[in-house]
Symmetry: D2
């Protein structure tokens, strides 16, 4: 916010938690500071580090190539934003892990932060246009100096994938090498320990499984839905069979049978297990039910923000996939399609990762397959309208807004 | 380019300038490296510096506020890109200073790099949407901890303005303070010495003054143009005076007189000096003539790329001004309009900088005022069509492509 | 969605409201249709109208200028999107007018549609880059043929401003002419009758006035807040006065007095009336209180979506203002700063409309001035936490989801 | 340009070609016009057509669904922009067909218009975010009413593909149906006759084949390049073989052999024919040589704008492919992956079109594979530096700027 006049101290005494540290702040006594006290802009942002981290390998090797600077800065900007995404992702996972989401008041935070991640990803997708101002010829001038440095070695990107929930066994291997082979020592440990933590996918799954209304001995959403749909399809079939024979009738019957097939599969838990094992579904059966319920009743006050969350999660998937695709396009332009030094080419490998196998919330996309007319949705009675708010509420131990990040 | 498989060494032996340094590269012998040799991704990008530069003041003071991280990362990303813009800007200025632009072969570089600056600025304008995911309330939570740190202290932004050519005397002071008062020690010196260097505006001005065709004893563009326009306007006036009296005639006459006034002023060098002194023009009279000439004959091969350059320079101005405006909007949202601690508010100050006073290439915009019908433009004869290519050509001392950055 | 394979009929018999019209649909029997029945793409979109509406005036006058086509298409695209914005705006106003928003279930619709408007405005801001590929010289070639056609005559843009709530008396006149003088006949009537309808601003105002918790004999938010702030400021003052004399103390005292002044004004209804009369505030005093309350308690489930709505409304303002600013920039480039045919120039006029006078939800921006530490916010007791949900609930007459657009 | 004050008549008498039509313009005598004469904004843009072309099928069938309006407007906006792209594309093809590009003065037009197409495509890619504000559930509400209308029936999109040069035989069929089966009558004829016209690809190919410097009896670029590369690779091999045995040596040798293979293939015309037949190359062998030559000598004044053109052509390909990919993503979200009514699903079909088979200028991307060190490029001697300007120059028959659109 260069030019922003109000990073400045505003209510210096209003701190609700004045700390020891602050009272003794040496910076208040400084005389060489730009202003009467406090930290200055460049120190605050540690620009001495950030702006002295651009060392051109081409220059080191005695043949400075102008465009290498762009290459470095662009990648550093990507890494900075990856760090911010991880920051948001970790805070959201924390809110889920610590069960803060059981207090509905935290849902605004969750949805806002997931939304912020999508905004950052949009920026990252757009950011390619800057790197694309470098031509293949410009890149060719210095790519020899990069030796073995490879984007595969971006620890943060791998952490990001792991924390969201990209499945290890669904990854495309590159020249028979696992991506983890790129990491060693501390980085390798970080990656391994991260893989032990619950992923965003798993946390969302658990949360969806708790969707109020799924209880078999309560509203029993799934049971009622199955009954309604079976009844509905039967009536459709009956109606169709009454039609005079015609090509149209045949088409409609074919359509209907397709529908029947789809819904029969939906209500078959074994089918779900099968799709899970193939990676075509990623959510548990109960979580899938919760997601469909939130979709159907999204206008209920209790489900409005949860519905926004599901939408934002799909957007993350879509944007990661767009990021991958933009990346592939750029690589094609920079190095052509045949440039691999051995085995399959990098371009073709990257193309293969632009795949639904890397879509974490693929189930949310595929919900669109299971939509039904309003009339088929189980009716909420007036009590049911209200129940969600009673279901889980604020215990007396709730105290402060800033509790979010504490355990 | 996380996931980019081909940062990798491509033609390890093709280096035209194999350096001593490379042959002794210790990294070739390493065993803990991710790959058989060479620098790895994280080292290349110095991620230890870049990703460890986010220290939250709120956390230091014992009250970690989640959104401060976004605030820091966003500003660091801005500063990273400012550095890249300065890198491009310096290289372009260097090409002009070293007279490399007299070799037309360097024009592609100049226009590509100025174009790259515009692409970066577009990204920076878009980047606001990320910071805008932070609400005023989120910002309020930690702005007290920033103490006096202020965006006014962004050295790079001031360097950028200075190097492009924002005029010192046209700046709006903030609470009677000059922006330079924010800088001390080394920063202050850097700023002062930068102000001694030729600005992009001055370099472009000198280049425009050399536009082939301006020579009074040659094609004499300006003299011919003035004659044509005076003749043209006289004929228009004559034609108009023959019309029957009507409201339409009065309107047309009023329009024409306005035109006559505009062109009379254009051909009056004293008028130009006057506008220069007020800051309403920034280019010398001769440079203005060159710019208009390039506009008129932009389709001549010699002028195609120069015309693209003028267009790109206007875009820089426009984007800087959009950046300022987006910044103002964000500040309004974050702190309201009255938040100044004394004197005028920051918001109102910032608004005042979204002004044509800060447009460096304002003359290029205002050229639109001086357009005339094709018939009025001095005709190029077939020889003239060709002359530009003869005018300045490649001397025998030209040797290599990579000479650009040498002196 | 060229290439979209599934505009196609999906559940042809599932319609919950099968209409007479559909059963008799002649199109089912057609044989010349691309497919077995139903409307085809081009007919559905009425492309015969849309794609035959580009008549170049330059061509009509015998001098076809290539770029005029871009000019026409760009403006038509703007008008298409304005129509969509009006569609969304009208539906939201309808939901407010018909008191559907009293059923909280409609809040998702309201906030989604306002959000959609912001997405469209973002596109419209970006759309300028396309028109900016036209240079001033290209525009000069055909602008004479446009005669008096002027963007001031865009009825839809005026309707849009009027429906959102741009205040008539705050508008900048152009050459002493009111913008309405550009409209005649049917258009003029449409404009006049629109001005009689409740604006989005007024509807939001009424809704904010109903914010639960404002009741003086209930939670009494405003009374409690005033007491807390007065007490808080008094304690701050006391604490400050105990400090030893120093420059820092003087600064802090000055800051504090500024704060006291700001809050004294906030709690003074007469001051509010005064600002209202000057156009510096636009919301009623009670609505302002509601808006501040929603901001303070935005994490309460009841206020999460309302808070999103307030944020989206600010974004509309910001984007309209950015649209205006982008427009100004483009006009500067196209016609320079002096091109007015009489009176003030168009450029300078347009600049003057990029003003807070045109910000409809300016109060929401300025709320940032009134933020206070958490400790000063009136505490919600556990009962209060819950009250919002009890306050207004779903009556038994609620029946269907699709009731939104009925009266 | 709503609010644009200067669509207005500027130099009413300056028309170089005042036409009869204008003098008799009836509109001058109108009295109900907004202004004293001329066409008004709404008439000029034919808004009566454009803004009355939104008929909701759901409303026609008695069940108005709010979001269908967005669906229609978005598609109409796409079609409007497709029309503009076709307008630019046709003008560029015309310049090539009429050999106007032999006059280098037309290159600025060509490159500017191709650049404009890329800007429009960028907008179209961004435009998806607007349609994405519609959820699958919203779409489900009205998609039954669209019956068989399908984006496959967008004539303009097919024309666009055909005119750029998407190869008929490389298209992915959809359910064994050719895309042309969607078109009948007039539309079918338009499509067929378009396919007879030279594509942009073909025209660029012819132009590339004329690249000065390719002449075997002249500069003989290809012959010299082959000799240099063969010599260079031989020397590399020799150098490598002198190295002591090591794993590094083995890797380098493997790399080198890969290079030798690539370049051997490059200089083998039969190999080129083979790749052409498979659709992996699209340009003639000679055109490919021209493209590589322009890349190598892009800084020569003669080649600067041609190089920009090649870059812009790649961008069109990249943006079309991004458009396809964004489209696929949206379809996945709207209808899931299984929604096809028969045969393969629409989603999977669309995915298959995001393929290099649809990249028209794929050769330009793959040039990156053939880059070599500067030292290997054939040297231009001072005469050669100049030759391009002599090669084709302005004949005396050149007369006017506006000749572009005439034959």
């Amino acid at each position: 916010m260069s030019g922003c006049p109000f990073l400045g101290r505003k209510y210096p005494l209003f701190t609700s938690k004045p700390s020891q540290a602050e009272e003794e702040d040496e910076s208040q006594k400084g005389i060489n500071k730009a202003t009467k006290g406090g930290i200055v802009y460049g120190e605050y942002l540690q620009l001495d580090k950030v702006l002295n981290a651009q060392v051109l390998q081409s220059q080191e090797k005695g043949n400075k190539i102008h465009d290498e600077h762009l290459f470095i800065v662009t990648h550093q900007a990507y890494e900075l934003w990856f760090k911010q995404i991880l920051w948001e992702l970790d805070s959201v996972r924390h809110l889920f892990i610590k069960k803060h989401v059981r207090d509905e008041r935290n849902m605004l935070k969750v949805v806002s932060r997931i939304h912020r991640i999508t905004m950052i990803f949009k920026l990252l997708v757009e950011q390619f246009v800057v790197l694309e101002t470098m031509t293949a010829l410009d890149f060719f001038e210095f790519r020899e100096y990069l030796s073995s440095a490879s984007g595969f070695q971006s620890l943060q990107f791998r952490l990001l994938e792991a924390k969201i929930g990209v499945a290890d066994h669904l990854r495309v291997p590159y020249n028979r090498q696992h991506y983890k082979d790129n990491f060693h020592g501390q980085e390798s440990e970080t990656l391994l320990s991260t893989e032990q933590e619950p992923t965003l996918l798993q946390l969302v799954e658990q949360w969806l499984e708790r969707t109020p209304g799924l209880e078999k001995d309560g509203f029993n959403f799934w049971g009622k839905l199955q009954a309604n749909i079976e009844e509905g399809l039967k009536m459709e079939k009956h109606k169709l069979e009454q039609m005079e024979d015609s090509e149209v009738k045949q088409d409609l019957l074919a359509d209907l049978n397709k529908q029947i097939e789809i819904f029969t599969a939906l209500f078959d838990p074994k089918r779900h297990e099968h799709l899970l094992s193939k990676g075509e579904r990623r959510l548990s059966y109960k979580a899938l039910q919760g997601a469909l319920m939130i979709n159907f009743y999204r206008e209920e006050p209790r489900f409005q923000v949860p519905f926004q969350l599901l939408t934002a999660l799909m957007e993350i998937d879509m944007l990661m996939t767009k990021w991958r695709y933009n990346h592939v396009c750029m690589v094609h332009r920079m190095i052509g399609s045949k440039a691999g030094t051995g085995g399959s080419s990098g371009y073709h490998y990257l193309r293969s990762t632009v795949s639904d196998r890397y879509k974490v919330f693929v189930d949310l996309f595929n919900l669109a397959t299971f939509l039904v007319p309003h009339a088929w949705m189980p009716k909420l009675n007036p009590n049911v309208h209200k129940f969600p708010y009673m279901a889980e509420c604020y215990d007396s131990s709730y105290n402060s807004y800033s509790s979010e990040d504490s355990d």
